[in-house]
């Protein structure tokens, strides 16, 4: 029988694209879109500690596409083989799966190459064209390119502009897609963020830009949406009628470590509140999206941020608190004051603690305070969102009803990822004594599955073209608009009380006063 005349046809999708029938019903996380990933800043710490180990583990997990290649680009001089050796050391040292093993390492490493290049020299960028062609031929990368900016942020605008000058921009790539991942911080204030965005817009369409905030890749952060929108019991009471206030905390025990030079110019408001913490607020407070589509979710996040009225300059000191740690004790060990840290000015006015009270002016949240706080050298490392419900409306249990606690739903991001609901129960005995008890869900015990590190999830999503967990420009801009009056006021005034909290403590007294004025109190860190 002549095969060509009678062979059955493989099924075609509606767009004429032939569907692989073996894929139906198959459980696989593997990305099918091939690509070359270019890392600018490939000799840097982020690439070495986080990004390359993430890629290697994606490969070990069989999640990377069959056709992929990695190109490192940096000023440090490496040959391809030297760079592969450098990458192997990085995997050996930092990969969660342990040291690189054969034959997988050879298979992975032969896809790695390197370009020694200046960020300002167009001719160096042009070498990438040749790499792409080689990778396409050798590994079937199909012309798809993902750029990753893992350099210091000052170089972002230069690299973006050079991508265009060297003809590597999306319109010049007629063979496949071109995307870019941009590390945080996206600007250091509203003006610089707008300036960077202006450069980005000249080269990339918003749909091609993936602004990464690794916090959003953490599993418990993703679970906020599941908790809210995969359960019927929370959404009906998720509003001003039943919720008394929301506290979002991102507390660290670490100091600035080796980042003193950066941190002394940034401070906690820029480093944590403007991005991580405001993103958490958006997830907790947004309206239900119409679908799980990236833009449907990001539309809702932007809408809720738009409903936050930035604090007026003359109210900044009533609705915020800032702090800087002095010497203290953490985990039983003495630690130095911030001003004694390496590369920090001895008279620094930079805050290492920030607390902010925000209100969302919409139908759902009007009048409900959202208290955000973040700080370094605090008593414990804790990231959580605590939703405190209103007091019961009617006393049923005699005099002791004054002691009845408000219900609190706590979404714990780290450590001990999970959810706790605090509710009241009767203490066994003849009297109506009521006491708060916890109902705990813990990821470790509930699922027993180790969640993927955030960078693995996010790099995988960018290759897939799923921007859900990346921040859109409108949200970035709005977050800067929210914090700008605070930044400007704080910068314009020196806080003579600094240092105003001891390392290992709960933060400055001014933060307690901020909540006490509304009859609230911070949860203990």
């Amino acid at each position: 029988m002549p095969e060509t005349a009678t062979a059955q046809k493989a099924p075609a999708a509606g767009d004429g694209h032939v569907v692989n029938p073996l894929r139906e019903g198959l459980e696989s996380d593997r990305i099918t879109d091939p690509c070359t990933i270019v890392f600018f800043g490939a000799s840097g710490d982020l690439f070495k500690r986080m990004l390359l180990p993430a890629l290697y583990n994606l490969r070990l997990g069989d999640i990377l596409p069959s056709g992929f290649a990695i190109v490192g680009y940096s000023r440090t001089k490496f040959s391809d083989q030297q760079f592969r050796d450098y990458c192997k050391l990085s995997v050996d040292q930092f990969s969660r799966s342990g040291a690189a093993k054969e034959p997988m390492w050879s298979d992975f490493s032969e896809r790695i190459s390197y370009i020694t290049g200046e960020f300002t020299d167009t001719s160096d960028y042009r070498q990438l064209q040749q790499k792409f062609a080689e990778n396409e031929k050798k590994f079937g990368t199909k012309g798809n390119v993902l750029f990753y900016l893992a350099t210091p942020p000052q170089v972002f605008p230069t690299i973006v502009a050079q991508i265009k000058s060297a003809g590597l921009d999306p319109p010049s790539n007629t063979k496949g897609w071109t995307r870019i991942i941009i590390e945080k911080p996206f600007g250091t204030d509203l003006a610089s963020a707008r300036s960077l965005q202006a450069e980005v817009e000249k080269v990339f369409d918003e749909s091609q830009v993936y602004r990464i905030d690794h916090y959003l890749g953490k599993e418990p952060v993703q679970d906020i949406m599941a908790l809210r929108f995969a359960n019927m019991i929370f959404e009906p009471i998720w509003n001003r009628r039943y919720i008394d206030g929301v506290q979002i905390t991102a507390a660290e025990t670490l100091g600035v470590e080796l980042r003193g030079a950066y941190y002394d110019h940034a401070g906690t408001l820029r480093d944590m509140i403007q991005n991580h913490v405001i993103n958490l607020l958006a997830l907790v407070a947004m309206e239900p999206p119409v679908s799980g589509d990236a833009d449907a979710i990001r539309n809702e996040k932007f809408k809720v941020l738009s409903a936050i009225e930035p604090i007026a300059s003359d109210e900044v000191f009533q609705r915020t608190a800032r702090g800087q740690y002095g010497p203290g004790v953490i985990d039983g060990k003495p630690v130095a004051a911030y001003r004694s840290e390496k590369d920090v000015a001895p008279d620094s006015n930079t805050e290492t603690y920030a607390a902010v009270e925000l209100y969302i002016d919409n139908w759902r949240w009007a009048g409900v305070p959202f208290y955000l706080r973040s700080g370094k050298r605090l008593a414990r490392k804790i990231s959580e969102i605590a939703v405190r419900f209103s007091a019961i409306p009617h006393r049923l249990f005699g005099e002791r009803s004054d002691e009845i606690e408000a219900n609190v739903l706590v979404m714990k991001i780290e450590p001990d990822e999970g959810v706790t609901l605090r509710f009241n129960a009767k203490v066994p005995g003849p009297k109506n004594h009521i006491r708060g008890v916890n109902m705990d869900f813990n990821y470790g015990t509930g699922f027993g599955i180790e969640s993927s590190p955030a960078y693995e999830r996010l790099i995988g999503d960018a290759i897939r073209g799923d921007a859900t967990l990346f921040t859109r420009w409108d949200a970035v801009q709005r977050a800067w608009q929210i914090v700008t009056p605070i930044l400007e006021t704080w910068q314009a005034t020196t806080d003579s009380s600094f240092p105003n909290y001891a390392a290992g403590g709960q933060g400055p007294p001014s933060a307690d006063r901020l909540l006490a004025a509304d009859g609230h109190a911070w949860r203990r860190i």
């Binding site: 009678t6 062979a7 692989n20 069989d62 001990d416 813990n442 470790g444 027993g448």
Partner: protein, 339 residues
Amino acid sequence: MEAHLSGAATIDLAAIQEQLKAARSREGAATATTMNFVVYIDDRSLHDRALERAEHFAQKYPARVVVLDATRAKSADVASSARHVTESATINAERIELGIAGLSPKEVSSSINSLRVGDIPDVLWWTSRSLAKAALFDEMLPLMDVLIVDSSGLDLAETAICELSAFAQRGHPILLRDLAYMRLSPWQDMVAQFFDDPNFVNELTRIERIEISSGSAAEACYLIGWLASRLQWTPCSRFELCDSTGRHIRVLDERRGEMRRVLRVALSTHEQTFAAELTDSADTVCLTVTGTKSVAKRCTPLHHIDNMSLLEKAFLFSSRDEVFEASLRVLCDLFKFDR
């Protein structure tokens, strides 16, 4: 904590409950139990291995494990151990081993009913070589949400597969999982990978020969059944499948290597061969395409095929596997042809 509670005329369920309650209250903090995991054993030689896996499983997924040992006379052993995972959470691994020889199916299922923790999933791991004939099996089904079997390594893999097919067609709401089929998941994915490439997807309509080397029969059978069910092939002899145009696809099935392990799968057209082959490292498979259009060799890790991972997967995915059931149906039709 361990206690042996045998010797009574019947199994003393109240005493077992009391033991478990006492162990839990000793822990003080909140404890977690996420499932009842019932293991049925009727072969003494499988006992220790099955028990070891159940223990491992219960350590990771806090479970109340109930072992039904049909090789032992009426007896009960209770063991409980606790592991603090956070400040406020303690994993309680509880194991109750019941000797059920001599008990009626109703007595056994009633005991299970009393011992299970309410409102959490009930998983039955049926390790018996006879998959679906025992009266106890039928008695237990209404109590269970997930049924796990392993047709691999059985002397009569074909019989087992047909029993499962018949069971699946009964439309019972229980989720049916065969570890032998689940073990193939990475191989299925690797075979599919060849044809993700638009240059090769049409080659699927030109396959002339399938070669499978594996240590036991069930794996090879399932791969054939899966391919046939996806590509609309039907059996036309014991060693051949036919596509919808009547074209024949020859099947070469070789027994080689360790039980429960696949060594090589190759699909060939007139011009191309797509082969996935286990390397010497035993945890990596290399994929090659040879012929008129060749592509670079690619290696891929072979993971999550150990029984622990498979057991996890068996209950973590909570929907029916329709592709598995379709594969079962094709295979049963194939087995109707004599060798």
